[in-house]
Amino acid sequence: MSEPINIILITLLQISLILGLSPLINSLLKKWKANLQGRQGPPILQGYYDLLKYFRKETVISEQASWLFLLTPLIVFASVCAASLLIPTITTNSALSSLGGVIVFVYLLGLGRFMMVSAAMEPGSGFCGMASSREMMLATLIEPVMLLALFVVILLAGSTDLYSAQKNLSELGLQLYSPAYILALVALFIASIAEMGRVPFDNPETHYELTMIHEGMLLDYSGQPLGLMFWSAWSKQLIILSLLANLLFPWGLAMQHSPVALLFALPLYLIKLLIVCLAVVLVETVVAKMRLFRVKDILGASFIISIIALIFAAQTLGGKGGIP
């Protein structure tokens, strides 16, 4: 295969993997959680049915809404698509490694959030405003934690783009699990649960006033824009889960673009993903939803953990060269 076609194919594969798999993973999380709670749960394909349903429904929007309200789902979706290109899923041989590294990744999620929170203020509904305000409060704590935890990864891996980092991590063997790395993963896990809008920070299944964060912001959306918003949120969830999965077990990704290697990498990726999903579901089942202003304590704690991890990482690697 020639190089440009290769790049386009891998890019398409990455985007379609994330977009295609995300409704399934979300339904799976719901199903498992229900099973653990002794309920039947929705069918595993419910996510796809929901999306198709939203895409056929009429769009009803607020009288107060402007161009921004309809533009936002598109930008949020685009930012998630772009972010999906920055994280490794089944291959370490990235097509677009020069697109940007972890900082671009974190700030792309920030771009989506900025637009979503702004748009949720548009209908002038008290509930949406409440959700926006809470989301922004959480974001001020989540964003630095994700950034710092990923900094630990790039320091240990000696590369700022996650693809090469992935490759370097896999070469480290079991030495990989240094204290700095484990602390960073703990911080990243806490921040990820918050970023995905799951218990104990938020509850993706309700939009009652007390738990209203992410779902609250979507209250005034309907039809196709709502479908897009859900799809973006699920895809973001899958992106973060993949990131966690591949950082936790950085082995088994395809090192080159041969179809055989990719075929072998896919089931491994799915298994890793399911393990992380299980962890998330277990947390959701065991831990109760927290009161809003207690959330800051645990996120603050993860912030401190990530700082400690970064200092550890800097100390352990200080003497060694590599990066000038």
């Binding site: 895409f55 429904k57 930008i75 020069s98 702004s118 922004m136 974001a139 005034d220 200092i311 690697l317």
Partner: protein, 653 residues
Amino acid sequence: MNEWCFLQASCLLLITGALLSLCISALSKKAGILISGITGIFASLFATGSGLLTLIHQSTFTLSIPGLQIQGLAPILTVDPLAAFFILLIGLAGLPISLYSIGYLKAEYLQQSVGMMGALYHLFILSMLGVVMASDALSFLIFWECMALLSFCLVIFDTQSLVSQRAGFTYLVMTHTGTAFLLVMYLILAHHSGQVTFASFMAQSSHLTPTLKSILFGCAIVGFGAKAGLIPLHIWLPEAHPAAPSHVSALMSGVMLKTAVYGLLRYVFCFLTPFPSWWGVALASIALITALLGITYASVESDLKRLLAYSSIENMGVIFFAIGLALIFVGHQNPFWSSVFLVAALLHSLNHSVFKSLLFMAAGAVLSTAHTRSLENLGGLIHKMPVTAALFLIGALAISALPPLNGFLSEWLIFQGLVLSTHGASESLRVFLPLCAALLGLTGAIVAATFVKAFSGVFLAMPRTHHAEHAKEVSHTMLGGMAIPAMLCLFLGLTPAVTIPFLNQLAASLLGQNPNAANWQIQNYDTLFLNGFAAYTPLLLLFILILGVGLAWLLPRWLGKKTSIRREMTWSCGVTAAPEFEYTPAGFSQPLEVVFSKFHATLNGYHEYIYLPLVNGLLALSRRLSIIQVGKTQVYLAYMLLTLLLCLIWIKR
């Protein structure tokens, strides 16, 4: 020597503009505003051209004004690449602001003496050009003082308003405190070199003792920090910037603050080398605390222009932070990272001047039509002013450092540097740098929350008062003035391949090192590589985002069907939706206030714990000293005689 001709043309145009503005406004105010705006536009264009050409050619040119030779104290004006960069900055901000001022003054200030305003405005720009061109201590201080006084006059231009006058007074006191420290520092330098020219200071730099240098550095931090608004010297900034007319606020926040950056760079890198690395640690710490506190204050502010002023404090903090990091690595003799951080500081100066002038102009547009700056009283303006709203959104996204706009680029550089430079750094730095990264990350996240609040408070939801209800879109000149920096936000964000090499060369010349020390590589026209690591390709990112938007538009239509859009009232639990049900801006930032309550608690502490005791102490001291003030001429003559005698004894000694 095109660049020199351009600069002369720019200065002459500014002087002519000032005079024309005064004369023509006496006849017709509207014509005066128009002429003043046009001369401002052309003067800025020439300044931009001159700055750009000097940067491209890396040339240096000097002019001594022949008529002004006073006993060897000839004012010398020199333009080198560093000065040229700041001339470019003044020009780039001055151009759209002058265009904007035409519409803005017509809308807001027709009742007042616009001729005087135009004259002050031109002279203010001229004085800033003078500050960066001055090449001896005396003319630097004169221009610096002119700049302070002219901006003071512009701040108190609303003479009826008591608030403006108070703000102006605070500004005057603080800026003179700063100037006093600068004066001391130049006097010490002049004493040691025997001359006042910058060239002689430079020659002298290696002969100063380390202690004296550190004292000089302290003076510089206070002197330039007072102008830049470093906490706790910032108290004038949130008062004075909002009080000034909006186009002047844009100029003050966008450009005037940068003269402090210029001053510090010139001073530290030219007159005080070599220096120890703890200077950098001190500066970076102060600056980072400034950034974090500045943005937490901004996040709970409900006055739009004050919010922007606090955010300027934050951005100046970030710029000084990057300079501090550069100082650290110069001290450690690491040419690579020192130049990377210096490039980041310069780039962020440029970026901030672009998006902050845009945001202040947009705030002025809102003020001119809704007649209120309070976020609580605005709302819903996106329907009345769609273009202004879109432009403000671009500014807000840029200042929140979101890709692919320009603010992200400088933030990206600083973060990359912070993390990667820990490799091979000394042990204490390996603790210091991660801590800095953490605080900077926190700062960045609060910026986004602040600007979501500002944007949604002004433009979204329903109008909360009749002020907002009767707003209209502003005139074309104002929109044009705002559109230029908005386009620059995108342009600068997308073209690191164009800007970085220039800034790298500038940083290298400032550090006195080979421009190839920082190993930048530009690949495929737009991909920025930093020493083989850390690639970023903004154009590709924009392309992917556009494709993503296209995909988001197509997929639902392809998977579902084409549907209609119906508009209904917002659901409010069965009651008719009303502005009272909205989440207000104050409500929006309340959770943040709870989370960062410890930081917010310091907001009013500066007056109470620093400035009041200081002022009271000064007053008490002057009361003590007033004993010698008896009011009799004979006694004063006796003092003089005594002083004379003492001086004679001291000289003869």
